[in-house]
């Protein structure tokens, strides 16, 4: 006897916001009659703080806060004890999307089927101006030791970015003493979780995109352009228990493997 169960949501993009009705059908297919003791549908949403190898040492310090935080928990009985005929049975359902009392919904950023959006009101809205930058051995944190003489000028359209719009800017290699192998954009997610006892912070590269390949021509503006990934990016989130923040690194790799990076913290919002 083989049974397959599938939940199909009505919306193609599977994105729901608070107060929406999550509707769809339950598809059960079986090659024989199926006796059951009732079907219930549970919608659960939670924040899962995972322990990674890096923070395993300080885990004890904030053990309590590491356990999953439940945001949504709706249980609904679809039908009672009974029998399903063989073949495909479709049962439609509708569940209102509401957070548990005293909880807010956050945007999914890795893969639960129900996406929820509740953009926190951030106080950083004003920063929409282009941010220009200049890179040369002189203004490197390391003091430019070992780096060839070069000058890189450019700007980013903004550091407060709409997550559905591409990240844009421009970059010009004004001069460079040794050939460049690659210019890359690195999108980094910084997760912080903790409480009064202490916190763990972890940065992960979630996307790395090349914008300059090889010995790029000098004094020609190169477009900075990156689409935020759908699954691994979410609006910047700062709560009492955890923070999700993003940064962009502009990485220049020289032919001799010398590598310089410039870091720009960015704020992602959904508008």
């Amino acid at each position: 006897m083989s049974i397959s169960l599938d939940i199909r949501l009505k919306r193609a993009d599977k994105v729901y916001t608070e107060g929406d009705l999550v509707s769809g059908v339950l598809v059960i297919s079986s090659n024989s009659d199926l006796k059951h003791d009732g079907i219930t549908l549970t919608m659960e949403g939670c924040v899962n703080l995972q322990i990674s190898t890096k923070n395993v040492g300080i885990i004890e310090a904030f053990y309590n806060s590491v356990k999953p935080i439940q945001l949504v928990n709706v249980v609904c009985d679809v039908c009672g004890q009974g029998k399903l005929p063989s073949g495909v049975t479709e049962i439609p359902f509708e569940i209102p999307l509401k957070p548990k009392p005293n909880r807010a919904l956050y945007e999914t950023y890795h893969g639960v089927y129900a996406g929820v959006t509740n953009c926190p009101q951030l106080p950083l809205k004003e920063n929409r101006k282009p941010v220009s930058f200049e890179l040369s051995p002189a203004n490197l944190a390391s003091g430019g030791s070992g780096a060839p003489d070069f000058l890189l000028r450019g700007y980013l359209d903004t550091v407060c970015c709409n997550i559905v719009k591409p990240f844009r800017g421009q970059l010009t290699l004004v001069r460079c003493a040794s050939p460049i192998r690659s210019i890359e954009l690195q999108l980094v997610r910084v997760e912080t979780c903790g409480c009064a006892e202490g916190y763990a912070r972890e940065a992960t590269e979630i996307q790395n995109i090349q914008i300059g390949d090889g010995d790029v021509p000098q004094n020609i503006p190169i477009l900075i352009y990156m689409v935020f990934p759908r699954l691994f990016a979410c609006p910047t989130l700062i709560t009492t228990n955890f923070k999700i923040e993003f940064e962009v690194n502009i990485v220049v790799v020289f032919e001799d493997d010398h590598l310089i990076t410039n870091n720009f913290p960015i704020i992602l919002v959904r508008e």
Binding site: D13, G111, G214, P217, I222
Partner: protein, 961 residues
């Protein structure tokens, strides 16, 4: 001779009187198909611009009595009368109407349709030009070993997505192999990848298909073998195009679009608008673009996005134009200038493919400007290092750019106004010393535009100082523009001078020849033969100056072809001083032959006739080249073609009254073209023609020389004929020349000719074909023999006797039926030969009638021969046995006896009756014909009061009586 022969006696008759008796023919089987008049083909609408019309021969005043009796039209004529015009001319006429009404719109439409072809016609050329013998490397994880697709249990959507991403990662970092391949291996691998991609797609492994596409695109980053890069680009972008199409078509067909008012989901129509796209399809499409956006490396990401450009229309109508502008700028990030310029080329190509949707075409120009902006980068240190490593020169390297740039320029020109081009030109002038840019402009812009500013460009060419595109190539490119569209008239001499000056700077013969090849057309078309001649002189000095062993046959062929095609006076070209030396430059004999053929064909079609001995000399020279190219291995068609050309050539040379020169020409032609029978036949015919026309023009010639000249003509024929292979042709020609010999009163020659004929007949191979030929030939021969005077040394009718012997000894088939028919005609001849005066004669030639004056010895001999012949016919009749053939011969013989013999001779009388009865007995008898024959004979007997004949007719019985 057997003694039981029936003696013949000739019926002498008065020719005049005999002629008066003729019965009118009442009906004739041919009557209905005689065409009285040919209706000229009516051409409505457009007359061909050549001004030449189909020659129409109207033979309205036909003297044939049969034709005049006709009132009815033949079916063909009738058809032509009713039909307004034939379907072809109708079509032409219709086309003209269309052309006239909307000439501009139809042209534009054509342009639009062809724009995707702009690339495809370049493809093959690139693949042929850019090849390598170096080893190529290919990094791949798809070939050689079947990929292991790990199918994990995919319980949730998260897993599925993760799995897909893992697959992508696998591809990026996983088990890739580096392969060293030769060019052909490389191409076949790419082909294999293409197949792999399609099969992956068809087996629902879309991620794998994408991975293959990415991997292909990644190969374009690699320029480790520079010369092969353009070809690689062609091969790989084909795969990418295919991939883009697959994605687009799948999105379109899987879209589940509900037509307004319909419940059944269908695929989106071809010309859908973004607002018709259902959400699910949009979502799938978005997934594709998110996937692409996450491709790590720049070049593959850009290429895949370009391949999928068209699919942007599932999202919105603005995304695609935006992407075009965006990618245009992003290509600046590609460090390798060659890779970048080809990426721009692909962008323009991809843009052209989606251009149906009314896109602003500024991005095309922007792409070229971007190239200009980064132009100096081509000469950067990095590139120099790579060139040094691959041992490549800068000019060679720079030509690698031309296919991409030319294409970009071509599409820009297609979508830009002249003003925009002028803008672009002024931008380019900042780089005025760059040969690459100059070359691109000249090959990309409209030729008319370039030609108009030809002098300007020539001075720009002069200013090019870099070692990019060579001077020869630049001149060539400019020349190509000028060929399509000439510069303004007043500038032409200046242009020519400047070009000649520039060309003289070229030291390499190959460069010089390739330039020359292009420019000569301009010169031939717009300048006189003098300029062509002096230019050819330059060419010669260049070719001779170089010590290097350079073979320029291919260019020479083109050069001469162009001259011949465009020069107004081909004779002046042939008589140029430089003509022979240029022809001698050919190293490849096959090309020389081709060129000679081409010139002669052109000459034949252009020139009616020539009397210039120089031209004739050249013609013989060219003809000899053609003639010598024919050998045992030449295909028949080739031989036929060449034969035809040479024959035409012989007819073209006409010295009119200077007959001796004409004959000399033919003598030379004979010695040069001796291996081609058709040409020899033509030469003989020409000579016969001269001799034949002699009398007509004699008055204007010096009388004293005429006989000698005629003799020479006849001798020419007599000497030439034996070298012809086909005995039948030889016979015909001998007969013809024999006639001419008689006509020219060269009796000895004529006699020799006739002896030769008889000799050939003896040697003819047996067979039904020969027999039917002999029948008609011998008849002609016999009628000529009548007027040939007997050679007093050889006795009476010695020629006829030996002819009869030859015929008798021939191996006849089918019981000598044909011989019987011939004998009947021999009887005709003999009975006419016995008359006191012959019905026709040749002027100035005394025939036997006057020679012998009906001498009894002569008459006796004639009757003796006749008797023998009749005896032979009788024995043939016996051998044939009853049947159609026996009837035919018996009846014919009967008629001959009835009409031609003196029937008072009892034996003949009896024989006639016997023959008549034999005819009746054969069962094949045509009684109606026999009845008509009998009544004719009765009428004739009464008319000529021939008692014997009347008595005979009384004895003739018919079953119908």
């Amino acid at each position: 001779m057997s003694s039981n022969l029936i003696p013949w006696s000739i019926l002498r008759y008065d020719t005049e009187k005999a002629k008066a008796f003729s019965t009118t023919v009442k009906d004739h089987p041919l009557k209905n198909i005689v065409v009285t008049e040919r209706i000229p083909r009516r051409i409505l609408g457009s007359a061909p611009s050549t001004g030449r019309t189909t020659p129409v021969s109207i033979t309205s005043n036909i003297s044939e009595p049969l034709a005049t009796a006709l009132k009815q039209l033949d079916p063909l004529t009738e058809f032509a009368m009713h039909e307004e015009m034939d379907p072809l001319s109708k079509m032409v006429a219709e086309m003209d109407i269309v052309d006239n009404t909307q000439p501009t719109t139809s042209l534009k439409k054509e342009d639009k349709v062809n724009k995707t072809d702009l690339w495809s016609h370049r493809k093959t050329a690139i693949l042929q030009k850019y090849t390598t013998s170096e080893k190529l490397t290919m990094v791949t994880s798809f070939l050689l070993e079947g990929e292991k697709v790990v199918v994990k249990a995919q319980s949730t959507a998260v897993d599925k997505v993760q799995h897909r991403l893992e697959q992508l990662d696998n591809f990026e970092e996983g088990s890739q192999r580096k392969l060293d391949l030769s060019q052909t291996e490389y191409i076949s691998r790419i082909e294999q990848l293409n197949k792999e991609l399609i099969s992956a797609w068809n087996t629902e492994q879309r991620v794998k298909a994408l991975k293959i596409a990415i991997q292909c695109a990644k190969m374009l980053t690699d320029t480790d073998v520079l010369t092969f890069y353009p070809s690689k680009f062609v091969l790989i972008t084909d795969i990418l195009d295919c991939f883009g199409k697959l994605v687009y078509e799948r999105l379109r067909t899987k879209a589940e679009y509900y037509k307004p008012g319909s419940q059944v989901p269908t695929a989106l129509p071809e010309d859908f608008t973004p607002d018709m796209v259902p959400k699910t399809a949009r979502e799938t499409c978005l997934n594709w673009f998110f996937k692409i956006a996450s491709i790590r490396e720049l070049v593959p990401r850009l290429y895949i996005e370009m391949a999928l450009l068209k699919s942007y229309y599932f999202l919105s109508s603005t995304d695609c134009p935006d992407a075009l502008t965006k990618i245009t700028e992003m290509i600046h990030g590609i460090g390798n200038p060659l890779v970048a310029v080809y990426a721009r080329c692909y962008l323009c190509r991809a843009g052209m493919n989606v251009a149906t949707k009314c896109i602003d075409t500024n991005y095309l120009r922007r792409n070229f400007e971007c190239f200009l902006e980064s132009y100096q980068h081509i000469f950067s240190q990095g590139v120099k290092d790579q060139l040094h490593q691959q041992k490549m020169t800068v000019p060679m390297y720079v030509t690698l750019y031309t296919p991409a740039l030319d294409y970009i320029m071509e599409v820009i020109t297609l979508y830009s106004l002249d003003t925009a081009l002028t803008d672009l030109l002024s931008k380019c002038k900042k780089y005025s010393n760059s040969s690459l840019i100059l070359n691109t402009i000249m090959s990309g812009f409209k030729p008319a535009y370039i030609s108009e500013r030809c002098l300007q460009f020539l001075s720009m060419i002069g200013q090019c100082t870099d070692d990019g595109i060579s001077l020869a190539s630049l001149l060539r490119t400019l020349g190509l523009c000028v060929t399509v569209c000439p510069p303004p008239r007043e500038q032409r001499p200046q242009v020519l001078n400047s070009v000649i000056l520039n060309m003289s700077l070229l030291t390499e013969p190959a460069d010089y020849a390739s330039c020359f090849e292009v420019w000569i057309q301009f010169v031939a078309k717009y300048f006189s033969a003098k300029e062509v001649d002096s230019l050819l002189g330059d060419l010669l000095s260049h070719m001779h100056k170089s010590e290097a062993d350079y073979d320029c046959s291919a260019q020479l062929q083109n050069i001469i072809e162009r001259i011949v095609a465009d020069i107004s006076d081909i004779e002046s070209f042939l008589t140029m001083e430089t003509f022979f030396p240029v022809m001698e430059l050919f190293r490849e004999k096959s090309r020389q032959v081709e060129v000679s053929k081409m010139i002669l064909v052109k000459f034949n079609s252009m020139i009616e006739e020539t009397n210039d001995p120089m031209v004739a000399n050249v013609l013989i020279y060219l003809g000899t080249i053609l003639h010598n190219s024919v050998n045992q291995l030449s295909p028949d068609d080739e031989k036929r073609q060449i034969g035809e050309i040479l024959c035409k050539l012989l007819r073209k040379v006409n010295y009119r009254l200077d007959l001796e020169r004409q004959l000399n020409f033919l003598v030379e032609a004979r010695s040069c073209f001796r291996n081609m029978d058709v040409v020899l036949v033509q030469a003989i015919q020409s000579v016969i023609n001269i001799a034949g026309n002699m009398r007509r023009v004699m008055k204007r010639l010096q009388k004293r020389k005429v006989p000698d000249f005629l003799q020479a003509c006849v001798a020419y024929c007599f000497i030439t004929i034996p070298s012809i292979g086909s005995p039948k042709t030889r016979l015909e020609l001998y007969l013809l020349s024999g006639q001419v010999a008689l006509y020219s009163t060269c009796l000895g020659q004529a006699n020799a000719t006739f002896r030769a004929i008889i000799k050939i007949i003896r040697e003819l191979p047996a067979g039904p074909e020969t027999e039917s030929f002999l029948l008609s030939f011998v008849r002609k021969f016999l009628s000529l023999l009548l007027v040939v005077p007997d050679n007093p040394e050889r006795g009476v009718r010695s020629l006829l006797k030996s002819l009869l012997n030859a015929l008798r000894n021939f191996k006849w088939q089918d019981n000598s039926y044909v011989l019987g028919v011939i004998y009947i005609h021999v009887i005709d001849l003999l009975s006419v030969a016995g008359q006191e005066m012959y019905p026709y004669r040749i002027e100035k030639v005394e025939a036997n009638d006057s020679l012998w004056g009906s001498d009894p010895k002569f008459t006796r001999e004639i009757t003796r021969i006749t008797a023998i012949v009749i005896g032979d016919v009788c024995s043939i009749l016996r051998n044939l046995g009853p049947g159609q053939k026996q009837y035919q011969i018996a009846l014919d013989l009967f008629i001959r006896i009835a009409i031609r013999s003196d029937l008072s001779n009892e034996e003949l009388n009896t024989l006639a009756v016997k023959l008549w009865n034999l005819c009746l007995k054969t069962d094949q008898a045509d009684l109606k014909y026999m009845m008509t024959t009998r009544s004719y004979l009765q009428g004739k007997a009464q008319h000529s009061s021939n008692v014997a004949l009347e008595q005979l007719t009384e004895k003739l019985s018919l079953p119908t009586d």
